[in-house]
Amino acid sequence: MEAYSLNDLKPLAKEVRKKIIEMVYTAKSGHPGGSLSITDVLTVLYFKEMNIDPKNPSDPNRDILVMSKGHASPALYAVLSLRGYFSEDLLSGFRNKNSDLEGHVHRGIPGVESSTGSLGQGLGVAIGFALAAKLDHNPKRIYAILGDGEMEEGNIWESMLAASKYHLDNLTAIVDRNMIQLDGFTENIMPLGDISEKARAFGWNTIIINGHDFNEIINAIETAKSVKNRPTMIVANTVKGKGVSYMENNPKYHGAPPKNEEEYIRALNDIEAM
């Protein structure tokens, strides 16, 4: 396996962000905001933390990641292609009828473990993977990436009960706490409050981090590996649209690409200057 160092992560994450912008701009559609907010977490997972081999994507011992917030497909597709699961050239086909890169995360793509898009389902699917790993005495790790708005779905809380009941210490859920959902700010639409406190009440170990600080992301994921008998929820405080000045903290860019060439260039320049 190739070894990536901490110093590699920053340029890699920049590259991922540029690809996200290119994809949604080429497709003239897609979800840049929540893709940019989860970029650093995904970069750490795929380039540093997860035990994976892009040349052998069905290795039974591989770590599993379920991208529950399936609208952040540009981030996942960009990371998977840069990690070597498929050619970067394919990214330009995002949301195009002649491409496999469906608008929301699609299992037919190498490296994708489960199709997602309708929210609230990925945590439960990750729990299924975690139960199977326990049954097989396989030490693999299971990750679920959740949006914060997504936590308004009831299935998330049903699944949190189940993960706790079955002592799934092989499961780490990471919440992209960017405070924004399609219609606006989460605390106005449906207040989620202290997610970490709620998860603790459900029997989870919880860690709150800055979701754009590589060291904090790495430390939290490592800590989760050492926790016994309980699943861990990492609440990653992030900025929606991170890296693109006019997208940051702007609900408008939850699901809208750069409007024109000028915005597109500005986005790429902003990312380059990060």
Binding site: S118, Q121, G124, V125, G128, L161, A162
Partner: protein
């Protein structure tokens, strides 16, 4: 048909067969949502507690976990009452059907035969709901023997998800022990060339009894068990249309989106003949003794007999 009728529970047959299969096949895992003593998955659960997951009253969680276990390679059975599984339509749609994972949903207590618990629990739309999902296959076993054979069949890992619809009441045993289930194939229980009654579930027994009564009126009815609803036996439908010229469908389900609809669609495309649908007419059920409700809703044995006779005698231009 004059031999003594033996009644057996389909859900007990399911639970027992699953537990027997679990012995040989260590990849089988079973999930339930707090109804295992009713769905009978508790028989498996007591024998193999490490491979049995009671997910509580949380069907969405059950379905997503079932999808994950299946993605991880397990042979998965998930059970609850039919009506509660439908809570999770879009979860089944995305995490199971679109994901193309072979989760086996075996649900019990479907239809009005559920009885006293009443309309909130008597789902009559599920065959339509599930048949509409791409990749999903739908089976309604007719008796305890067919139930066992279907479960045996599904225990060998498939590529698709399945919806197997069982009921609460004990139903007459119609098949011989040697019966083998064949997906997409119907079974003709009674030959006849005047009219065909296609049915599934308890309605097959009712249709056979109605056919016996029709014999004395010189009407020779063919009765076919259409347990494989999706895929459906198109050839048997087209043959019935050609041979008998009229088809009656009978199902413990809404007349919308069930067997009646499928048969009508197929004969319309392939060999148009009149079709009469017997089933629940876009209404909810009713509390009462399960097996008394069929007469109450005019879909019992004598209703099938009367409707079939009138339909047979009706002239179409």
């Amino acid at each position: 048909m004059q031999k003594t009728e033996i009644l057996e529970s389909l859900r007990e047959a399911y639970g027992e067969e699953l537990a027997a299969l679990g012995e040989k096949n260590r990849d089988i895992v079973v999930l339930d949502a707090d109804l295992s003593s009713s769905t009978k998955t508790d028989i498996f659960g007591k024998k193999f507690p490490e491979r049995f997951y009671n997910m509580g009253i949380a069907e969405q969680s059950m379905v997503t976990a079932a999808a994950g276990l299946s993605l991880a390679g397990k042979t998965v059975f998930a059970s609850t009452f039919a009506v509660f599984l439908s809570n999770t339509y879009n979860v089944i749609r995305q995490s199971v059907c679109y994901n193309e994972v072979p989760v086996n949903f075996v649900v019990t207590h479907a239809g009005i035969s559920l009885g006293e618990d009443g309309p909130t629990h008597q789902i009559l739309e599920d065959v339509g709901i599930m048949s509409g999902l791409p990749n999903m296959k739908v089976i309604v076993p007719v008796d305890s023997i067919e139930t066992r054979r279907v479960i045996d069949y599904l225990a060998v890992k498939k590529k698709n998800p399945y919806y197997v619809r069982l009921t609460r009441e004990k139903f007459p045993v119609l098949n011989e022990e040697s019966y083998e289930f064949k997906e997409g194939k119907s079974v003709t229980f009674r030959d006849g060339n005047d009219i065909t009654i296609m049915a599934y579930g308890i309605m097959v027994s009712f249709a056979l009894k109605a056919a016996e009564a029709l014999k004395s009126k010189n009407i020779d009815a063919r009765v076919i068990n259409m347990s494989s609803i999706k895929p459906i036996d198109r050839d048997a439908i087209i043959k019935a249309a050609r041979d008998t010229g009229k088809i009656v469908t009978a199902e413990e389900h809404s007349i919308y989106n069930g067997l009646g609809s499928r048969v009508s669609e197929i004969v319309s495309e392939e060999y148009p003949v009149p079709v009469k649908r017997i089933g629940m007419p876009d209404i909810f059920g009713k509390s009462g003794k399960g097996m008394e409700l069929f007469d109450y809703f005019h879909i019992g044995i004598s209703d099938i007999e009367k409707i079939t006779e009138n339909f047979y005698r009706e002239e179409f231009k």
